[in-house]
Structure formats: structure tokens, C-alpha cells
């Protein structure tokens, strides 16, 4: 069955991405660069949504709902991250003030 083969190939791809992600976690990356390990996870989500969840094959509204969910998630995470990413902390001496 062609669809079964297609699904098994997708599963193989997911396992390969998982292996890449697992291996990348042992790389000596800078603390701030380590979230790049999420790239294989993002690709895995794309594979699951397109193959297992049939995002391309289903009715038109599902792509709209998926895009809307993703857009609002980006707005939530983007706006929410703006403060910690841009704030500069000026440390002040709090001892020996007398």
C-alpha cells in the first residue's frame, strides 16, 4: 500500500531527526546558542502535521486553523520574549551603603 510506505518513510525521517537532535545536544554550544537544538524538533512537527495529520490533504479550513494557531503562538512567544531579550539590567551595589 502506497500510503503505508509513505507513512513508514515519514517515521524513518522522524527517527533520523530525533537522532540528530539527540546528537546535537552533546555539542559544546554556547548557552545562548543551545536553543538552536529546537530546529530538528520544528522539522519533526512539520513532518507529523503533513504526513500523520494530513495537513495538505484535508479540507481548506484546516490549513487556515493551523496557520492561525501558529500565528497567534508566534505573537504570544514573540511579544512575551521581547522584554527579557531587550531589557538591560544595571546592577547596583546594595551593601555597605552607610
Amino acid at each position: 500500500m502506497t500510503r503505508s510506505r509513505h507513512l513508514l518513510l515519514a517515521w524513518g525521517l522522524l527517527i533520523a531527526l530525533l537522532a540528530i537532535e539527540f546528537g546535537a545536544s552533546f555539542l559544546a554550544l554556547d548557552r545562548t546558542a543551545r536553543p538552536l537544538i529546537l530546529i530538528p524538533a520544528a522539522l519533526m512537527i512539520a513532518v507529523v502535521s503533513v504526513t500523520f495529520m494530513e495537513l495538505r490533504r484535508g479540507p481548506e479550513p484546516i490549513r487556515l486553523f493551523f496557520a492561525a494557531g501558529l500565528l497567534w503562538l508566534c505573537i504570544l512567544l514573540g511579544l512575551g520574549s521581547l522584554d527579557p531579550m531587550t531589557r538591560i539590567n544595571y546592577y547596583v551595589l546594595t551593601t555597605n551603603l552607610k
Binding site: 559544546a28 554550544l29 524538533a41 512537527i45 495529520m53 484535508g58 492561525a68
Partner: protein, 216 residues
């Protein structure tokens, strides 16, 4: 999506319309679920940004092997369930039941590894964020925040897994009563979407919990 339902409700213009409405409705629900998990991911970004060393010290205490095996288990469970959907599309109800049982058992394995093994080890090692927390200064505060994220994230995901297991069990029950055929399998597809979504949430949680702080 090409199924022809013999159980068309009056409010739909055609069986196809009914099936597409159910599928679209589930996707709309999943879009709200994305926003349900969004603040959890934002909490991770915010907390790690201000407490990178402590957060990573917490992540290094997690059980990488169990987390990785669980990812493998969940991805495979999602594959097996989707294979079941493709079998019922071809009218093979017996293989649908076999696939659903396989997916259900793998879901159970995930829950056992997560809560029966991993959480138990975490409690034994005093990693629950409470007064007798095992990690001391200077990384205590960040590690505490990490484990708040860890326990909350895995508990909420585990709750979704339990709901998923109930739904897959419901599909097995209905399939055994021969309620699904090549002409009607919308509930099977809808539950499959939910099951794959729970898998997707874990795909995000896995690197946040086990990988990003690991080699830092």
C-alpha cells in the same frame, strides 16, 4: 476525506460536508490547544533567560534515556494509529483494531515510563521543587524554576495522554462493534488528529526538558 457516510445528520448538505466539518472542528480545537501550551513555552523562555546556569543545572539532572525512549515510543504510537486510519480507509476493520490496540499500549508504556519510573526517581532524588530540594546554591533558584516547568509541563502533557488513551479506547470499542467501514470512519480520523497533536507537544517538550541544558 473521500468517505461517504451512511449516518448523515440533517444539518449537513452531504456526508462529505459532515466529515469535513468534524475534521475542521478538531483542527480548530487543536489551534486553541496550541495557545494553551504557548504560555508554558513562554515560561520556559522567560525563566531560562534570567536563570540560564541554574536552569541548565536542573536540566542536567533529568533522565535523558527515558526521555528519548519515550519520544521514540510516542512517535511510533502516532505512526501505528495513522496506519490504522489508512487501513480503515481501505475497509479493513480488523487491522484498524490491531493498530489502535498497538497505539494504546505504547501510550500506556509512555505513561508508565514517565510517571511510574521517571517521576518516582525524581521524587527519590528530591528533585520536586519543595523545601528539601536537592540542588543547593548557587544554582538552586534556577533549578527550582526548571523543575516547576518540568513537573507542570509533563503533568499537563500526561493529562492529555490520558484523555488520548480514553479516546483511542473508545475507537477500539466502536470498531469492535463494527461501526466503522470504508464509508464511515470520521471519528477514527478525528481521534488520530488529537493523538498526533499530543505527540507534537512532546516533540517540543523533549528538547526543552532534556536536551538544551544538557551540554551547556
Amino acid at each position: 476525506m473521500s468517505e461517504v457516510s451512511s449516518t448523515q445528520e440533517f444539518q449537513y448538505s452531504s456526508p462529505r460536508h459532515q466529515a469535513e466539518s468534524a475534521i475542521s472542528g478538531m483542527w480548530l480545537f487543536l489551534a486553541t490547544e496550541m495557545l494553551f501550551f504557548g504560555p508554558l513555552f513562554l515560561a520556559w523562555i522567560y525563566s531560562r533567560h534570567w536563570n540560564q546556569q541554574g536552569f541548565d543545572a536542573g536540566a542536567q539532572q533529568t533522565e535523558l534515556i527515558i526521555g528519548t525512549v519515550n519520544t521514540l515510543v510516542l512517535v511510533t504510537s502516532s505512526l501505528i494509529y495513522t496506519l490504522g486510519v489508512s487501513f480503515i480507509e481501505a475497509g479493513d476493520s480488523r487491522k484498524l483494531i490491531q493498530c489502535c490496540v498497538g497505539a494504546w499500549l505504547l501510550g500506556l508504556v509512555f505513561l508508565w515510563l514517565k510517571f511510574g519510573v521517571e517521576w518516582r526517581h525524581d521524587f527519590e532524588r528530591r528533585l520536586f521543587p519543595a523545601s528539601d530540594f536537592a540542588i543547593d546554591d548557587p544554582h538552586r533558584d534556577g533549578a527550582l524554576l526548571f523543575f516547576v516547568f518540568y513537573f507542570l509541563g509533563t503533568a499537563v502533557h500526561g493529562l492529555h495522554m490520558i484523555v488520548g488513551l480514553i479516546l483511542v479506547g473508545w475507537i477500539i470499542f466502536r470498531a469492535r462493534r463494527k461501526e466503522f467501514s470504508a464509508g464511515f470512519y470520521t471519528p477514527v480520523s478525528v481521534v488520530g488528529l488529537y493523538w498526533s497533536f499530543v505527540d507534537m507537544v512532546w516533540i517540543v517538550l523533549y528538547p526543552l526538558i532534556y536536551l538544551i541544558g544538557r551540554g551547556a
